[in-house]
Symmetry: C2
Subunit: 368 residues, 2 copies
């Protein structure tokens, strides 16, 4: 087995995990290869707080041989070197005198320093910096390095980039299958949905997850509402205030509220300027509350502002096969700023998908 | 062989033709199937003025058997019934007493009426109306039915639908491979490129075909230039006026020019309103001049106007992985009209293609 094949093997193992079961932990896969280049142990990180991938791989290998001194461990992410929810994997590797460790991507957490620890113990270490392994844990890396949630934008527009007509009619731009995709693959795979009080009021949005059988599932919702307008009496029967048993509404406001908050509603305060919320003032708090991965579903202004603040991580863009051909229609993105061509925001294409006649383009933002 | 398989077989045969060799004739493929359901003859229309697909198929079948009275002819387009550049295929079918004819799409030309002729001769006829067979000859059908060229729009934009920044800088939005695709697959496959005098001046465009080895090929260019500004002395050295031996420049103007025209430049007059050229005033003339398939390469205004006039047939849209996020940047499309969501223009997706990190979406307009 070649090195690249071994790394791909680890990455494919890692993908067996269900993200909702492990978040905020990373996806990790590991294999042990013996002197004859045969895989004698494999594993992946399956559950938050459960054994790491390396533990499974080593335990499986030990059932076949007690001597790992000629074996190589391949792992998609740098092994842990500190006591967290489990003992350090680096210690386990050293204990079994594994000959060599090949690491496909380094852990950005400074507490993780197993490369040095392993080398000090006489173990050969190779770090590959594989881009697929890094992309697999984009959310985890963002959480660790930037101390903020991983923010995913979603937009549905016509070919000419409009999300509503001149009179703000927007139902429906994208087709039914695209809308179901949002429920099945986007809302289902994040810790909260981020939106604005305007969208909640205008769209009478509940922001639940509706499966294809019609079943409804709750979601956490984070709503930017500077002046807590949503708490006005006239809005108390909005769909967003459905009875919640598993989820919360978090309002981001400029001032700590003096009134009693409804059940399952919490407030956090943030700084605002004339463009809206400054995300740097709330992102770490949101992360610490356990919202590691967030889907933004809102209008042009919030999406544009998040891109401008350089905190948009991914974009899912649904393109309907239609054209409004009207300058007065609502654009998907845009601030009243002057951006020269050479200052444009660059993205990388992750995937394209045809959903009936809609096209879904999935991008990653190339952040600086 | 089932009916659908036989029709697909014919369509695949038809596609063997090189469009530039047959235009304005349609793509046609035909097969003869004997009583034992074996293909005993096949052919496709190869060259303008040359034998039709049915002729090849029948001649090949006759080498195997002189009796076609139990055979079925499958053909992707209704056989001709009139004397054109070749004798009518319907007569040939009748002459050889072919039992049955299955036609995948009808010819829109009212002079073609072979269904009636064949049936009157006692031949069983089945018309299928296959959508792939119809799409294959979209250009031919448009020429015949609408008495105008088949108009293809091309645009390259950012994700937020901008073709240039606020200062009109547009070099380059799309990547090098996308631009080469335009030369290899779009410019090379039309009879002329349509643009405006503004684009020709602003982009210093030559609109030639540049192959990957750097070779240059001429193209016919049709330029909308109401007041013949391009003929002003200051523009005589523009790249568009390169020495031409195989191609022409056609200027569409409001008034017949009184001055002597440069070599290889011709004028046709059209009607203009405040939005620009009214295509209905020139389309038939352009068609009669032999420009059957035309690629529009221009700015937002011409594309928007052609969509508004309901004469855009196809769109090739290159999407670069970037965002300007600026309301002041130049939009790909849009007129200052008010278009309600339910009046939007509908398109059908033909193909998606990833070109490096650009995405190419190819659409057909669903015209009324």
């Amino acid at each position: 087995m070649k090195k690249n094949e071994a790394i791909d093997y680890c990455i494919n193992l890692a993908k067996n995990a269900i993200e909702n079961d492990i978040r905020p932990n990373p996806f990790v896969g590991a294999i042990i290869v013996d002197q004859a280049n045969q895989v004698i142990g494999e594993g992946f990180h399956q559950k938050l707080g459960g054994p790491h991938a390396e533990v499974y791989a080593i335990e499986q290998a030990l059932q076949k041989t007690t001597d790992l001194s000629q074996a190589t461990l391949y792992v998609s992410l740098e092994p842990c070197s500190h006591f967290g929810k489990t003992p350090p994997c680096a210690d386990l590797i050293i204990q079994h005198k594994i000959k060599k460790v090949v690491i496909a991507s380094l852990d950005p957490n400074p507490k993780v320093a197993s490369v040095e620890k392993l080398m000090a113990a006489g173990i050969e270490v190779e770090v590959v910096n594989d881009s697929t392994a890094t992309l697999l844990n984009a959310g985890f890396f963002t959480n660790q390095l930037k101390k903020r949630p991983f923010y995913i934008l979603k937009s549905a527009s016509t070919i000419d980039g409009k999300i509503a007509d001149y009179a703000k009619n927007s139902q429906w731009i994208s087709n039914a299958a695209s809308r179901q995709f949002v429920h099945d693959h986007l809302r289902s795979n994040v810790d909260a949905i981020l939106t604005t009080y305007k969208t909640v009021i205008q769209d009478k949005a509940s922001l639940t997850i509706r499966n294809t059988e019609g079943g409804i599932q709750e979601t956490n919702v984070i709503i930017i509402d500077k002046d807590l307008e949503l708490l006005e009496k006239q809005y108390e029967n909005l769909p967003i205030f459905y009875p919640r048993s598993l989820s919360k509404i978090i309002l981001i406001t400029a001032h700590t509220p003096s009134i009693q908050l409804p059940e399952n509603v919490e407030c956090i305060t943030g700084l605002f300027d004339e463009q809206g919320l400054l995300f740097s003032s709330v992102s770490e708090t949101i992360l610490e509350m356990g919202y590691y991965k967030i889907l933004t579903e809102a209008g042009s202004q919030l999406n544009s502002s998040m891109i401008h603040q350089n905190i948009a991580d991914e974009l899912y863009w649904f393109i309907a096969p239609s054209i409004l051909n009207d300058l007065n229609a609502l654009p998907m993105l845009g601030l009243d700023q002057f951006c020269a061509l050479d200052k444009k925001v660059q993205l990388s294409l992750i995937e394209t998908k045809v959903i009936d006649e809609d096209v879904l383009l999935h991008y990653r933002f190339n952040q600086i």
